[in-house]
């Protein structure tokens, strides 16, 4: 099997619009969460959200290119420009090689709702405009990035709920390991508009700690009361090792293991067995001893049952190993379709800069989180291998193990 390495990263998130900005936010423990009055006016139970700026791409892209892009495709474009630049890949390279594209995305609500509103109001489908169909499809991110960057390898959107981004990287790694692709642009994108999560708010999944937005997302804390929705996009360039060496690419890390499983039970409540299986599979495929893992980036979203069951799953596998565990969602909220990719980047930034960012708002453990080593203050520490969990509705689980290079 061929080795898979990471040669470029890029991000657009509530913690920053570049790797440097995001690194600084992780280092200082800055929260990206705000209270959005528009959501309250719309009748939301919780108006909490991550604050993500929609990029103005008028100077970078033509009108016709922008016309087909919903907000999450714009985030993904910016993240991908940064990742390709860092990987030392230009358009000439993309034009001469079959580069693939696997991106996590699992909704595109805003353009869908707007088109339906137009049809209902005007009774004329032409008035939806030319962009609506391309913006509304679940594969909108991969169809936009694929055409803008003229990519000619595998081109697929991975929809695995809140594990979409992690599955995209894991599946990309498998395609490279088996020699089917030399390079794949992987990632995850998440829209932030109110329409996208209105019905999610409706099932009382969100924190209502509206008087303290920055304290609302508190994974593993005893007093957590739900997640905070977030978004943006994260891009990771993965590449076959020898290929990367040959072209003199900056080799940042190796994707050692991808584990996956499904719970096969409840649509929203996770169990312990499924995630445990995903963790074990990733570690086994990485071929490492768990003592080599210096940091665990948990999926933990700040929901009661989710965090509890993940804490149990991590303890099942790591027992008394006491590896530091944090959930970067304490700062970002839940970046959902993007999270599996962004959390690889957050972990990479910490690994490359010798620190583990605080699991902010972790003030009091509960019975299960007490068994884990969860720092609520930044730790300055060198580590060379991390594990990242991503779990999603329907009981889909993904785990990635990454080693520094």
């Amino acid at each position: 099997m061929k080795r898979v390495v990471i040669t470029g990263m890029g991000i657009w998130s509530c913690l920053g619009k570049s790797l440097d900005e995001v690194r600084d936010s992780l280092y200082t423990g800055r929260s990206g969460i705000i209270l959005d009055p528009e959501r309250k006016a719309m009748g939301f139970r919780s108006g909490l959200t991550a604050k993500v700026e929609i990029p103005d791409l008028k100077k970078e892209l033509s009108r016709s290119q922008r016309a087909y892009m919903p907000e999450q495709a714009k985030y993904a474009y910016c993240a991908t420009v940064e990742a390709l630049r860092n990987a030392h890949i230009d358009q000439d390279y993309l034009d001469k090689h079959d580069v693939g594209l696997l991106y996590g995305n699992d909704s595109s609500a805003d353009p869908t709702v707007r088109a339906v509103d137009t049809i209902r109001e005007k009774h004329d489908t032409t008035l939806c405009g030319s962009g609506a169909i391309f913006q509304s499809m679940n594969s909108t991110v991969t169809m936009n990035l694929g055409t803008i960057f003229r990519l000619r390898g595998i081109n697929l959107t991975v929809s695995g709920a809140c594990a979409s981004g992690a599955h995209a990287i894991g599946l990309g790694a498998l395609l490279i390991q088996t020699g089917l692709q030399d390079m794949i642009v992987c990632g995850g994108a998440q829209e932030v508009n109110p329409f996208s999560i209105g019905s999610f708010d409706g099932i009382s999944a969100f924190s209502v700690r509206e008087n303290e937005p920055e304290k609302a997302s508190r994974p593993f804390d005893r007093d957590r009361d739900g997640l905070v929705p977030g978004g943006g996009a994260a891009t990771v360039i993965i590449e076959e090792y020898e290929h990367a060496v040959k072209r003199g690419a900056p080799i940042l890390a190796e994707v050692l293991g991808y584990g996956f499983s499904a719970n096969g039970e409840h649509i929203s409540s996770p169990n312990v067995e499924g995630p445990s299986k995903s963790l074990r599979m990733a570690i086994q495929r990485a071929g490492i001893d768990i003592r080599e893992i210096g940091y665990i980036n948990a999926h933990a979203t700040s929901t009661h049952v989710g965090d509890t069951n993940e804490a149990k799953a991590i303890y099942n596998v790591f027992q008394n190993q006491r590896t530091e565990v944090t959930s970067t969602k304490s700062q970002t909220g839940h970046e959902m379709w993007m999270a599996g990719a962004s959390e690889i980047i957050y972990s990479m930034l910490m690994m490359k800069n010798d620190f583990i960012g605080a699991n902010i708002n972790f003030e009091n453990p509960d019975e299960d989180s007490a068994k884990l080593l969860i720092p609520n203050k930044r730790i300055d520490k060198h580590f060379d291998t991390f594990l990242s969990n991503s779990f999603g509705f329907g009981g889909t689980n993904a785990t990635l193990v990454v080693r520094n290079m």
């Binding site: 008028k58 009108r63 016709s64 032409t126 008035l127 939806c128 030319s130």
Partner: protein, 81 residues
Amino acid sequence: MNKQELIAKVNAVLAEEFEVDEAIITPEANIKQTLELDSLSLVDMVALIDNEFAVKIPTTELSKLQTFEALYNYLEEKTNA
């Protein structure tokens, strides 16, 4: 709105939407060529005209509107009707 005002508004909204210099829009110029419209962005022109002038251009009429002059005349007729 008199015809001069209509022409000014048509030129302004089209130039802004399709990101062209308003100066290149002349009565005899070809709409598709001037605004660089393909079959998809032509749909956006129909939606824009509907939004701005409350005039729906049927697909069957669209092919007859080759120049801006033809579009001005069509809109003048429909808005005065």
